[in-house]
């Protein structure tokens, strides 16, 4: 017995069929509007930045790779190994092992210094809390963002690496730029 839909049949209301002037506008108007952008940009020339040969300048408050600082006059490290940065770090990527300064081996200005200072860059989220927590302004976040490497363990930055200036300076955006 063939299927008899009976009362299940629902009539579909369709819109008016396209055509005429309205249809033509819909077909070409939007395309021309898009092409307007294209022609405008054509006159400007290329804007591609040839990274890594060229780099985007960063803003002064950009938070990139950390830097540990020394006193300019005495050359002593500012860091006293207090570990407050490690306490503030939300991802637990800082490890500090302190040791005691001796008259023969004076590293920092205080009683203690950081014998080990490591930041695991693969884990760091660059929130800057360490900088805020530091009571001696010993750690700041710099402008370098080129931190990729071939090996995870190479991303654990030691104190020597954090003390050293980066090889290439990241360009900084000038005022008003």
């Amino acid at each position: 017995m063939p299927y008899n839909p009976g009362d299940d049949v629902v009539l579909v209301q369709r819109g008016p069929s396209p055509g005429g002037a309205g249809g033509a506008y819909r077909a070409f108007g939007e395309t021309l509007r898009g092409l307007k952008q294209t022609f405008q940009r054509l006159t400007e020339g290329t804007k591609t930045i040839q990274y890594p040969e060229e780099k985007v300048p960063v803003y002064p408050r950009f938070r990139g790779r950390h830097k540990l600082h020394r006193f300019e006059d005495t050359g002593l490290e500012k860091c006293v190994g207090c570990s407050l940065c490690a306490a503030a770090c939300p991802v637990d990527c800082i490890r500090v092992v302190a040791d005691e300064n001796t008259p023969e081996n004076r590293v920092s200005a205080g009683e203690r210094y950081a014998a080990v200072y490591e930041i695991n860059m693969s884990r760091c989220i660059f929130c800057g809390y360490c900088e805020i927590a530091c009571p001696f302004d010993a750690i700041t976040l710099g402008h370098d963002y080129e931190l990729s490497d071939y090996n995870r363990s190479d991303l654990i930055f030691t104190k020597e690496m954090l003390m050293a200036e980066p090889l290439d300076r990241t360009p900084l955006r000038t005022a008003g730029e």
Binding site: V80, G81, C82, S83, L84, A86, A87, V96, A98, D99, E100, N101, T102, P103, A109, G110, E111, R112, P135, F136
Partner: protein
């Protein structure tokens, strides 16, 4: 004095009705109503409050001025306010006042993050400071002792450390020098603060003024994890909290348990943790090849050991020392009894007691608890010195005498540290404690004949014994006898045990608050025996079909070649057994010596053929039994060490695992795959542990004598006094021969020997003699002398002590070199060898630094201004 009754009263605090014990200090009573009153100087452990810091000021209705909450006892109906403006003003003023001279070097200070001064400043302080004048400056930090650094700028003068030194450890060395703002903590004579309990002041200090030198700058509170366990370095088995960072133990602090340690630790327990991470640790199995110990893998070592044991069979023997856990001892005795059919097991250096006596001494009714030492009417200290044998008992006895009016009665051969606190002191001849017990027994049973004979055999007099008994029994019936396992050493051990049980019986020590308390020689001596590791009995004092040889017998049989294989479980017989020469021969003639040891000692290096690396206590899991019957749990705090660059499991393995692997190779499967399974087997096998679970033991431990299972296992025992014979009289000193006694210094242990910070305390041989004898022999203090008899000689530095009785010398035993474990009690000749020998300037045994040149800078008072950042540092 029996324990005081607690009377509950109601008082009002901040508008709330709170029930609290009457006469508790307000600070404590407030906690019953969840009210916190900040304190600095108040510490209930230190006894009477002093009210020095004024931080705890509260308002009490009816009293016009603010009162110190720490020194005001709570009364019924008292109305107290802690949240009024007046109180807040006072608290803010006190914090501001304390911070006037407190340097703001929290980032550098080790206390930062766990500092009560920080916490209270945040919670109750004013938030800002109005003080702009220069602060007080001191030279910082100074060495207060080889263990402790003091930073006097940070001190808030709460007196806690000084009170500890004056009232708890009673070494009377720390004082506050000068007055007012110039006050500072120092030792009274400027010498280093060296005593057996100094480390506690580090924990007591509410600021960073007293800092442990071993923990200085090692970690901050957020870097570390705490792990609770039990210290196994002496029989006191104090509950400790290990500070762990990066899988290394950095610090040991007390985990207060009033029933065990009262919240104190000795310096050995606190600083000898360093032995866990030293180069001397054995981290992999070793075997002797061509006369040298070379690393091998576990399979090789286990197979070799199994072969040696299997071949030996009943000709094997095993010795365990105190730090062995119950489980290790239990499994090893199962292996020996069930597989090798061998009962040559011994954990008692002095030899095992016959089963009825061992059982009688372990009778739950006769067991005193540690708090009983404090609350008893009288305590008899029988020929032992807690400061050397179980130091934390020393503090407990001092507390009893000072605060509970306990009568301390000392009967010992060697002068003890507690003599000054005792009501009566009886000096008997070395090695005659049994004669003294017989005399006491005779005095108690009015046997005049025996009394006179036994008293003179002990080198004392009947009258002295009568006086001692009078002082012991006059105050009341709660009497505790504290004795050492050394009492049972030697051939007359069983008779001594009989005499002790007789005295206990006649004094009726079965009641609550009275009893016997034995200090075993090994840290877990009691547990090892109860787990069945003894020649005369199996687990839970079960009789055994064929008893084996005891310690001395094992040595003789090894020397004569009747035994072939020896298993040493955490023990060093050359150092700790009484007959060193015999053991030297025994170890040399043994075919195979298997050493299960954590540190490379002299004995292991020269005599061991197969070495299993042992665990340090921070790595162990298992159970221990405290001298008073408390079953305690060792918890693992750190992982097992593994040699560098090797896979896990190739290094140290758990003791239960090694023994059960060994058993498996010998064809006996214990079915133990985890430490807890070994514990379960033990609890099932020992009748009085039945039903015990690791959960029930928990962090505080469970005293098995107080459990129902103990009553079922022992039943109602009654014991009739037996007739005792008078032991042979003590040797009589003559013109050229002196009586000799031995003692084992607290610091004589392999852990102290390898801990870098405790090197100053490492004991050297001393010959203690009275000044009268010294004059007779022409010996001055510090002279090098030699004592000896029959060709056995010991050399050491003479030390003159007025308390040593005339005609007697005492020499230390258990030292790594110059061991005196050679003398049985008798007489020796003394000879002066030359001028003062090289000796450590500090003598930790007596607790007082020697007067003279000190290698440590004595703290000098220098009040001066120094610009920040240029203050001289330590070692400068």
């Amino acid at each position: 004095m029996p324990r005081p009754e607690i009377n509950w009263i109601t008082f009002s605090i901040d508008g709330r009705e709170v029930k609290a014990p009457e006469n508790a200090m307000l600070v404590d009573a407030a906690k019953y109503g969840d009210v916190e009153i900040p304190v600095f100087c108040y510490e209930p452990k230190l006894g009477q409050p002093v009210g020095a810091c004024r931080m705890c000021l509260v308002e009490i209705e009816g009293i016009p001025k603010l009162q110190t909450g720490c020194s005001t006892p709570v009364k019924d109906g008292m109305v107290v306010h802690t949240q009024t403006e007046r109180v807040h003003d006072a608290q803010r003023a006190v914090v501001e006042f304390l911070l006037i001279n407190h340097p703001l070097d929290c980032p550098v200070c080790d206390k930062g993050g766990e500092c009560p001064l920080q916490d209270i400043t945040y919670g109750w302080g004013p938030g800002t400071s109005r003080y702009i004048e220069p602060k007080r400056h001191f030279v910082k930090p100074l060495e207060l002792s080889p263990l402790i650094a003091i930073d006097r700028e940070r001190c808030i003068l709460c007196y806690r450390c000084v009170r500890f030194s004056q009232e708890i450890s009673e070494d009377y060395q720390l004082i506050l020098n000068e007055r007012g703002a110039h006050s500072f903590v120092a030792t009274f004579d400027g010498h280093p603060y060296v005593a057996p309990f100094t480390g506690n002041i580090v924990e007591l200090c509410p600021v960073g003024a007293l800092i442990s030198r071993s923990y200085r700058f090692r970690a901050r509170p957020w870097d570390i994890e705490g792990a609770g366990t039990v210290c196994t370095l002496c029989p006191s088995q104090c509950n400790v909290d290990l500070t762990v960072r990066d899988d290394r133990v950095l610090r040991v602090s007390a985990r207060d348990n009033d029933e065990v340690d009262d919240g104190w630790l000795c310096d050995k327990g606190r600083f000898a943790f360093q032995h866990i991470h030293v180069d001397e640790r054995i981290t992999e199995p070793l075997m002797r090849q061509d006369g040298k110990l070379v690393p091998v893998d576990w399979d090789t070592a286990l197979t070799a050991a199994a072969q040696a044991l299997g071949e030996a069979g009943p000709r094997a023997a095993a010795i365990a020392d105190g730090e062995t856990t119950n489980e290790e001892a239990f499994l090893l005795q199962r292996l020996f009894r069930e597989r090798l059919d061998c009962g040559n097991l011994s954990a008692r250096p002095g030899g095992d007691l016959p089963l009825p006596l061992a059982r009688g001494l372990a009778d739950p009714a006769l067991q005193a608890t540690v708090p009983d030492l404090e609350f008893a009417h009288a305590v008899l200290l029988l020929d032992c010195d807690p400061i050397d044998d179980a130091p934390i008992f020393d503090l407990r006895l001092r507390k009893g005498v000072r605060r509970r009016d306990m009568n301390l009665v000392v009967a010992s051969a060697r002068p003890t540290a507690l003599d000054a606190n005792a009501t009566t002191v009886l000096r008997h001849a070395p090695g005659t404690a049994e004669a003294l017990l017989v005399a006491l027994d005779a005095a108690l049973s009015d046997d005049r004949g025996n009394l006179g004979g036994a008293a003179s055999a002990a080198g004392s007099s009947a009258q002295a014994v009568q006086d001692l008994l009078e002082d012991l029994t006059s105050a009341g019936g709660d009497i505790v006898i504290l004795y050492s396992e050394r009492l049972f050493g030697g051939p007359r051990g069983p008779q001594a045990a009989e005499a002790l049980l007789n005295v206990a019986n006649r004094l009726n020590l079965t009641g609550e608050g009275a009893g016997l308390l034995e200090i075993p020689i090994g840290a877990n001596g009691r547990g090892v025996r109860e787990a069945g590791f003894a020649a005369t009995h199996g687990p839970g004092f079960a009789p055994v079909a064929n008893p084996g040889l005891a310690t001395h017998g094992i040595a003789e049989a090894l020397a004569e070649g009747q035994l072939s294989t020896l298993y040493l479980l955490h023990t060093d017989p050359l150092r700790h057994m009484s007959d060193g020469e015999l053991w030297e021969r025994a170890l040399s003639s043994a075919q195979t010596v298997i050493a299960h040891e954590s540190l490379m000692t002299e004995t292991v290096a020269t005599h061991a053929d197969i070495v299993f690396p042992g665990e340090a206590y921070a790595e162990k899991e298992g159970t221990l039994v405290h001298p008073d019957g408390r079953v305690q749990r060792l918890r693992r705090a750190i992982g097992h060490p593994t040699p560098f660059n090797r896979h896990p499991g190739s290094g140290v393995r758990a003791g239960w695992q090694v023994i059960s692997d060994l058993a498996k190779l010998l064809g006996l499967d214990f079915g133990v795959f985890a430490g807890s399974m070994a514990s379960q087997q033990l609890f099932a096998a020992v009748p009085f542990f039945n039903g015990l679970t690791l959960d029930e033991i928990g962090g505080r431990g469970v005293r098995w004598p107080a459990r129902e299972a103990a009553r079922l296992a022992f039943g109602e025992t009654s014991r009739e006094p037996v007739a005792l014979d008078v032991p042979p009289a003590a040797a009589v000193p003559s013109e050229d021969a002196l009586r000799v006694g031995t003692f084992r210094p607290l610091w004589s242990s392999k852990e102290v020997d390898v801990s870098p910070i405790l090197q100053y305390a490492r004991p050297t041989q001393v010959v203690e003699l009275s000044p009268v004898d010294a004059e007779r022999f022409g010996v001055a203090d510090g002279d090098k002398v030699e004592v000896g008899v029959n060709g056995t000689q010991v050399q050491g530095a003479a030390k003159l002590r007025h308390a040593v009785p005339e005609g007697t010398v005492f020499v230390a035993e258990g030292l790594s070199d110059a061991s005196s474990s050679l003398f049985n009690y008798g007489t020796v000749q003394l000879r002066r060898l030359g001028g003062s020998a090289e000796e450590s300037p500090i003598n930790p045994i007596i607790g007082m630094p020697a007067i003279g040149e000190s290698p440590f800078n004595p703290p000098r008072h220098e009040l001066r201004e120094s610009p920040p950042g240029t203050a001289p540092r330590m070692n400068e």
